[in-house]
Amino acid sequence: MLSIKNLEVSFNDGRENVAVRGLDLDMAEGETLGLVGESGCGKTVTALTVAGLLEKGYANIAGEVIFEGRDLLKCTVNELRLLQGKDIGVIFQEPMTSLDPLMKIGRQIEETLKLHSKFSAEERRKMALEVMKLVGLPEPEETYKKYPHQLSGGQRQRAMIAAAFITRPKLLILDEPTTALDVTIQAQILELLKRLNEKCGISLLFISHDLRVVRRVCKKVAVMYNGRIVEYGDTEEIFEHPKHEYTKQLISAVSPWRKSNVG
């Protein structure tokens, strides 16, 4: 479904800043892939490139990003727009600032439907309420009319997921979706994501610096360091038998009691 070949991304902000160097990655349909690494390793940039959210004027992008047979990097802006929201959805880290503070939740959830389909207002509303129930938002009828600041952090993230999910996209890109949430809420959201993947077959590209979180949701994981993928494989495999130095460091950082097995 998704095939990244030799991706190179750099930025022009005065100094030469290479974020991603020669990255190769493949994702099949229905797959859950985690992309881990420390801050600055290029994982977010990779995700944003796939989502088509990089500013072409400032970012120099080379390589191929083939989604369902089309190279996204060669698409025009308008062609990309047709995919964004419909086939590719994005969940960002900060649900408070990622939602329009002046627009009701219900309308925001429906937004992709409005942009990409011809459903009537009534139909959209029904679909919104349905997906709100699906993601576990309490009292959907009431919540539909609320504004983002009236919801809790966890609820906002659920709303974001609802908004992205309503069009049943093929790929959902999640950029540190639980980092800003409480631990208990984190667990619930991760469970929700797992469920969505299992029941509806939606692929998840899960970006995180936290290996534990990735472990709960993703079957495969790619470790990034300094713009490159240094290790890739099944999550459990990597955890049991990390091959690269950096991976070992990452693992030992999160599970101190494994130090004896590592290195």
Binding site: L53, K56, Y58
Partner: protein, 280 residues
């Protein structure tokens, strides 16, 4: 990290520099005596002898503009000085110490600033009479509330900063803290307010003189007054009004650019992982 040069500040300084240069020159030398009338030369279009022409009394427009700009600048400078000095003192005191006096003054201040200052100026002028000195005093007093408000909010913001608390702990006197420690830190805001105040003063003086209640006809030339006098001759000799009007505009433009430039933060484009432009 490449920084786009601060065009605003550069142009602003250039323009203001030119105007001030012309004005200072005007104090010592003008092509002709600004107030000397010469019926033989009246209403001449701009020519070699008179670069901006003459007015209906035969006075050289360029000289009058130079003197008029000087008058306007003089008035604006003094008015802003009064407003800034007293406004800073009042704002500093209330912002730093707070308390009920602060609350009351703020309410009064709010009422004041809501009202267009030109109207207040007109009201007071109607009671006291017109003339250059009156204008200076009235405008100065009218500027005090706006300066006080800005300075007060700055002092209030700084009051809780660590360096102030440290100084207080070390036993530094309040007066010293306010002047030696806090004041330099808010210089940016203060200078910006002064530039804006300047513009308002120039505009106010020009407006009042145009309405006939500012600088009188017998005093030194004033740009606003010149506009008033020359309006009738717009059809036949527009250069009078245009010179005066554009001089005012250029003065204001210069200071506006400077105040823009002062508030300038060099924009390196932030790592644009987020935004997307349709045009590459």
């Amino acid at each position: 990290m490449r920084r786009t040069p601060n065009f605003n500040l550069i142009f602003g300084c250039m323009i203001t520099g030119l105007t001030i240069g012309a004005i200072v020159l005007g104090y010592f030398w003008t092509p002709y005596e600004p107030n000397v009338m010469s019926m033989a030369d009246k209403n001449l279009a701009p020519c070699a002898a008179h670069w901006l022409g003459t007015d209906n009394f035969g006075r050289d427009v360029l000289s009058r503009v130079m003197e008029g700009a000087g008058t306007t600048l003089n008035i604006a400078f003094l008015a802003v000085a009064i407003g800034a000095i007293f406004g800073t003192i009042i704002g500093g005191l209330t912002g730093y110490f707070g308390g009920t006096l602060d609350e009351i003054l703020m309410r009064i201040n709010d009422a004041f600033t809501a009202f267009p200052s030109i109207l207040l100026a007109l009201v007071i002028i109607s009671i006291t009479g017109s003339g250059k000195n009156n204008v200076i005093i009235i405008l100065g007093i009218l500027f005090i509330p706006s300066f006080a408000r800005v300075i007060r909010s700055e002092f209030a913001k700084q009051r809780n900063r660590d360096y102030v608390k440290n100084a207080q702990l070390m036993g530094v006197s309040h007066r010293r803290i306010m002047f030696v420690h806090i004041l330099p830190n808010i210089m940016n805001v203060l200078l910006s307010s002064i530039a804006i105040g300047f513009n308002n003063a120039v505009l106010a003086e020009a407006s009042m003189s145009y309405l006939g209640v500012g600088v009188g006809p017998t005093e030194r030339a004033s740009l606003g007054r010149m506009l008033l006098d020359s309006q009738a001759y717009m059809t036949t000799s527009p250069w009078m009004a245009l010179s005066a009007g554009f001089s005012i505009s250029i003065m204001i433009l210069g200071f506006a650019l400077i105040s823009e430039g002062l508030g300038y933060r060099p924009t390196w484009r932030p790592r644009p992982k987020r935004r997307r432009k349709a045009n590459a």
